[in-house]
């Protein structure tokens, strides 16, 4: 009988504890810097794309969710700093396991995983994101 009362007392104690639930879409909990959420393709200081289309991210990806196709930078209006840039960069976010291997693989710090993680759509195609979705806007 004492055990029962002790149990009731314990649950009663929790009635006054602060709630653990975060009212998510309205409020967000803080995310650590290393959080592996959605990807971005970064730009360098001059506003050029960091990605040079080397395809190491695609090679490192254990689930083959990244497709990169490279081409030569147009003379006079380059996309990236080197000779080469990625004209196509696609991630199948439904396949992605957010392991961060691509970020680790990128020698140019172009692909990065950010704390952003809201991923929502009714259509499968929306999860196949391309360069326009990934690349951060020019400052």
């Amino acid at each position: 009988m004492g055990g029962l009362v002790k149990g009731l007392a314990t649950t009663l104690k929790y009635l006054r504890r602060p709630r653990a639930t975060v009212d998510y879409p309205a409020k967000e909990r803080p995310y650590p810097e290393r959080f592996r959420g959605l990807h971005i393709l970064d730009r360098d200081a001059e506003g050029l794309e960091r990605c040079v289309g080397c395809e190491l991210c695609a090679a490192a990806c254990p689930v083959h969710c990244i497709t990169v196709e490279a081409a030569e930078n147009p003379v006079g209006a380059p996309y990236s700093a080197g000779e080469r840039y990625a004209w196509r960069y696609e991630i199948d976010l439904l396949r992605c396991i957010f392991c961060g291997y691509c970020e680790e693989a990128c020698p140019e710090d172009a692909i990065q995983l950010t704390p952003r993680h809201d991923l929502l759509s009714n259509k499968r195609e929306d999860f196949l994101v391309g360069k326009d979705w990934l690349t951060v806007p020019r400052q």
């Binding site: 149990g7 009731l8 009663l12 929790y14 009635l15 504890r17 602060p18 709630r19 639930t21 009212d23």
Partner: protein
């Protein structure tokens, strides 16, 4: 006014009140459990989630109405109705104030006990008719459990009846003018509480729908409105038995003056309901055989002894 018409109106009003009470007991339970469990409970529909029942109702109505193959259609359709009817009908004889009842027959308490026992038909028939092994096991458990605990509850209530000297609920309340029965009849009160919880199929006696064992027990195969009727029955049972408990042991609508009696009754009922929720949040579920053991080997003898003791004391005073 035609007394029949008046009774009918009172009945309708009672049903309306009960349904509203059901809706908000459910919100309350979800809120209370949430707070026990470091959560918020419903917050999204309406302010503080207060319109949640409405959303639930809409959801239940819109759900696909599944009727499994090979069922006994008539009984399958009837069972939730029996449960709900029994739960609603109990209230007809429960006064919520002096002269405030749908009808207040002299033997009201007997009527209450009788109808409380009727609810088990809905549960056992529903489980039996739905052609599912889990549901069958659930309904068998419910039947055994309710019969076992019915006796102990009867004995506990009988002790109060003996003490009050009447089987009218109004009479019982009036008999508590000097002292609430919860004090002299504490054993009966505890037994009544346990049995009421078991009667209402609530944790830790929720064997008939034990989720981890029987998926959803007797209502595994019910969806939509039918399922909703079972849930309504369960909650209304809980409310009504809490009201009856308040009437029997906590002095009903009696209390210090400025607050109206109705509020007192509501408060006492609320305390009893909260107690059930608290227990649900805390305790594990009993095992089937232990539940039966407990009912027959502990509760019934104690209830009997208590009744005998009460009777002797009343006789000695008498």
């Amino acid at each position: 006014m035609n007394p029949l018409l008046a009774a009918l109106l009172r009945g309708l009003l009672a049903i309306l009140c009960l349904l509203t009470a059901f809706a908000y007991t459910m919100v309350l339970e979800r809120k209370v459990l949430g707070y026990f469990q470091l959560r918020w409970g419903p917050t999204k529909v309406g302010p503080w989630g207060m319109l949640q029942p409405l959303a639930d109702a809409v959801k239940m109505v819109l759900k696909e109405d599944i009727r499994p193959a090979g069922i006994d259609r008539f009984i399958y359709a009837l069972a939730p109705g029996i449960s709900l009817f029994a739960a609603l009908a109990i209230f007809a004889a429960v006064p919520i104030g002096p002269n405030a009842a749908v009808t207040d027959p002299p033997g009201g308490l007997l009527y209450v006990l009788a109808l409380a026992a009727l609810g088990v038909y809905g549960v056992s028939l529903g489980g039996w008719s739905s052609q599912s092994k889990y549901a069958l096991l659930g309904s068998l458990r419910a039947t055994a459990q309710m019969i076992s605990y019915e006796l102990a509850m009867g004995m506990a209530v009988l002790a109060v009846v003996v003490a009050a000297g009447t089987v009218s609920l109004t009479g019982v309340v009036q008999a508590q003018a000097s002292i609430w029965f919860v004090l002299p009849e504490i054993v009966a009160f505890v037994i009544f509480l346990i049995c009421a919880t078991a009667e209402g199929n609530r944790a830790p006696f929720d064997l008939a729908e034990a989720e981890s064992e029987l998926v959803a027990g007797y209502h595994t195969e019910f969806t939509g409105l039918r399922f909703a009727m079972f849930v309504m029955a369960e909650y209304i049972d809980m409310i009504v038995l809490a009201v009856v408990g308040a009437l029997l042991f906590l002095g009903g609508w009696r209390g210090p003056a400025p607050v109206p009696g109705f509020i007192w009754l509501l408060l006492k009922t609320g305390v009893l309901i909260f107690l059930q929720m608290w227990v649900r949040a805390t305790f594990p579920r009993l095992r089937y055989d232990k539940l039966m053991d407990f009912g027959w080997k502990w509760l019934l003898p104690f209830a009997f002894l208590n009744l005998a003791g009460t009777a002797i004391i009343v006789a000695l005073r008498g």
